[in-house]
Amino acid sequence: MKKDSTSYTVWFTFVVSLFFVLLLAFANELTSGRVAANQRFAERSAILDSLGLKASGVAATDEAAALSAAALSAAAVQDASTSEAVDTVFDRSVSVITADSARFLLYKAVVDGEVRYAMGFSGAGLWGAILGVLTVNADVSRIRGLSIVAHNETPGLGGRITEAWFTDQFRDEQIPPAGIRVRQGSGAGDTNKDNGELDAVTGASLTSKSIEKIVNAQISVFRSLFEQGGLQ
């Protein structure tokens, strides 16, 4: 078969594509367990973090939090022992309630002597979906925590919504009747917990506006659950 003949070209392209695609499928299969475990670890850590079951910042007195101090340090590289600790804290402290909105589960935990509810959300960011977890107190008057699980925003700009200074603003923030507002501020974080206002990420106004919309939508979900008596 001559190298430039049509039949060789077709045959060659088919074989080469098949070969590389098979290798990729194999590599994917090999790592799928790990990737799924990473995903689970990230989701559970986000739920725990949003609930306030984390060592840094929250002065919790129960032993679950003491465990979580070891469980949730850094979380930069996940290994088996860390994910086991996260699973332990999660299974011990968090109970799952199936709510009407079947897409996301409602989680309940007692933290610092108060009942808190956490639920995952998915909303439209600038470039793609933003997935995260929002936690509120029992009467939906304050946000107790926000954590971002996944997003497709611009690294270094919109991607900064995952940084501690941004999400920490939401901790214990009062929820005004019309919902919270994310507005252009100092860019270093709004420390006033009673104004219902938060600093946007400087240079990422659209992503910040998306967060505002998404969080307010989730607050509405919590509110309607509360009114229907779903939050006990």
């Binding site: 190298k3 070209t9 990230a42 497709n152 991607g159």
Partner: protein, 214 residues
């Protein structure tokens, strides 16, 4: 490019020298500019990204060079894209499985490595007419030349834009961050200025070598 009949070691040295300085993929060949502008507001992201590009270029150049004789002319570029995509996806899978935090931090940019002109550029310009081993070296050194330039830009952008380097806060307390450094326009200015400075330096070095003749 070294045209003399040199030994293997000389050729390797010439490739290294060219890809790092005289024929640098970014400031001389003007390739890979999109990622340069996008990813350099953060040193850690830049480092991971450039390592990814270096590995992808090295391995795909080597593979393509090995496949050289078998590839029909009509599907040459399609095959190059296939091989490059393969290695980029492998990198993506490895990051997602073993370095999930980094994978999240880089987000869509890992998949976009395939669009980096440097990789295809080296496949066309070098791997087509050189041995696999030398092609691997050429790919690796092109990536290192790319890395050196990008890390320089990133150091300036991250320091002035965030007051930190590799995430470690280094600026004095009263420092007001230059937010423009975090955004794309600053990259345009900095890359242009760096290109101008480095090319001028190269030209004065060449003139000096030729005995000062202008």
């Amino acid at each position: 490019m070294n045209g003399a009949a040199s030994s293997g070691k000389n050729k390797a040295w010439a490739v290294l020298r060219d890809n790092l300085w005289w024929n640098n993929p970014v400031f001389i060949q003007v390739l890979g500019i999109c990622s340069t502008l996008a990813v350099t507001n953060n040193l850690t992201n830049t480092f991971i990204m450039t390592v990814g590009v270096s590995l992808a270029t090295a391995f795909s150049s080597a593979t393509l060079s090995a496949m050289n004789k078998a590839i029909p002319a009509k599907v040459r570029m399609i095959t190059q894209v296939l091989v490059i995509s393969f290695y980029v996806i492998i990198i993506d899978i490895v990051l997602r499985a073993y370095l999930p935090a980094v994978s999240k931090s880089l987000g869509p940019y890992v998949g976009l490595i395939i669009t980096n002109c440097i990789i295809m550029g080296r496949a066309e310009a070098f791997a087509r007419s050189n041995t696999p081993l030398l092609s691997f070296w050429d790919g690796l050194t092109s990536g290192i030349g790319y890395m050196a330039f990008l890390m320089g830009i990133a150091a300036v952008r991250e320091f002035l834009g965030f007051g930190s380097l590799f995430g470690f806060k280094l600026a004095p307390p009263g420092f007001t961050p230059w937010t423009i450094m975090v955004m794309a326009p600053s990259a345009f200015f900095l890359v242009a200025m760096a290109m101008w400075a480095l090319k001028s330096l190269q030209e004065s070095m060449t003139a000096h070598k030729k005995g000062g003749k202008k």
